[in-house]
Symmetry: C2
Amino acid sequence: MALDHALLVSLLEKPSSGYELARRFDRSIGYFWHATHQQIYKVLARMEEAGWIVAEVQAGATAPDRKEYSVAAPGRAELSRWLAAPTDPEGTRDALMVKLRGAAFDDPARLLPELEHHRATHANRLTAYRIIETRDFAGTLDRQRALQYMVLKSGIRFEQGWLEWCEEALEVLRSFGQDQSRRTTP
Amino acid sequence: MALDHALLVSLLEKPSSGYELARRFDRSIGYFWHATHQQIYKVLARMEEAGWIVAEVQAGATAPDRKEYSVAAPGRAELSRWLAAPTDPEGTRDALMVKLRGAAFDDPARLLPELEHHRATHANRLTAYRIIETRDFAGTLDRQRALQYMVLKSGIRFEQGWLEWCEEALEVLRSFGQDQSRRTTP
DNA sequence: CCCAGCATGTAAGAGGTTACATGATTGC
DNA sequence: GCAATCATGTAACCTCTTACATGCTGGG
């Protein structure tokens, strides 16, 4: 149930419409939590009914009237409660790892494009993060900035780790290319 | 739909009952993909109906008869197809990052126990991986072993990154402890 | 005139979690 | 006798994804 809280934080940072939130979940916030607009609208409606957020309807300007949500006192209280409540680190679920172990029963070389694609993706993300780092987090930071920077830093660390691992995995897979045996269990 | 494939790989590595698979998903396989027994039984039933796997019923020994599943030709074909099909690196979803950004609107010190818990969890996992590493992956490795080792290495890299990041985050949070202002937006 | 962007949603289905349910065997 | 382990599942519920649906405004 953490999408609720991600939206609360997002709305505290800046009151927004569902549409705007959806766009932010495709960029900045999306780097550590992603969600589609369908999900977002549903959760916003639920939270409004619960009184966690309030909508200010801005009529006239747009086709369906724009609704700008902001966090109400109960929403703030709920966020505060959730912040102090312990959560276990989430279990990993990575299809690529399954594929690697599965490659032992197929031709490992078929994974090469996949791994290269992953490497490229992680390299791109790392570059994007580095740009944000120099642009937004140089010099002295206030408390909010410092916290945001910690989040960005986790992303940087993470992507760099992935990148290095991809290189290593590619080397290992390529070293298999020499021998022509196709399966370990034919 | 990747649990199907995780189970196929697992059954190729060793034909098993649903119960055994569930236990392995709580340990070795669970390090990169977790699933409950309820899920596993459902997917096994579906895959058996689809002809991907076959069950050998071992009657008599246990209360509900034990069913040992192994992968049939169509299952192998499906796995092969999936291995070559591209998948995007999955989007991150980390509640801890949401909490960090949320802490700017609350007392950041309340996150300390959570972060310490995370640090401890990642430290424990790292230790567990290191033990597996020395025990199972020393010396020369065949192809299957080399692939498994790559998976383990990603886990090690990952946990080490988390660990270092946790230390860093704890230091930053503690540095806030000096000033007593409670909220950025009161 | 058309397309991109803004803005809202509904609906069906797949996947995942939590709780419930049963029953034999083995070791203490 | 009791608890742990082996072994199978069902049911309710929630979340997430994918597809569908509508309609205005502004720029080229």
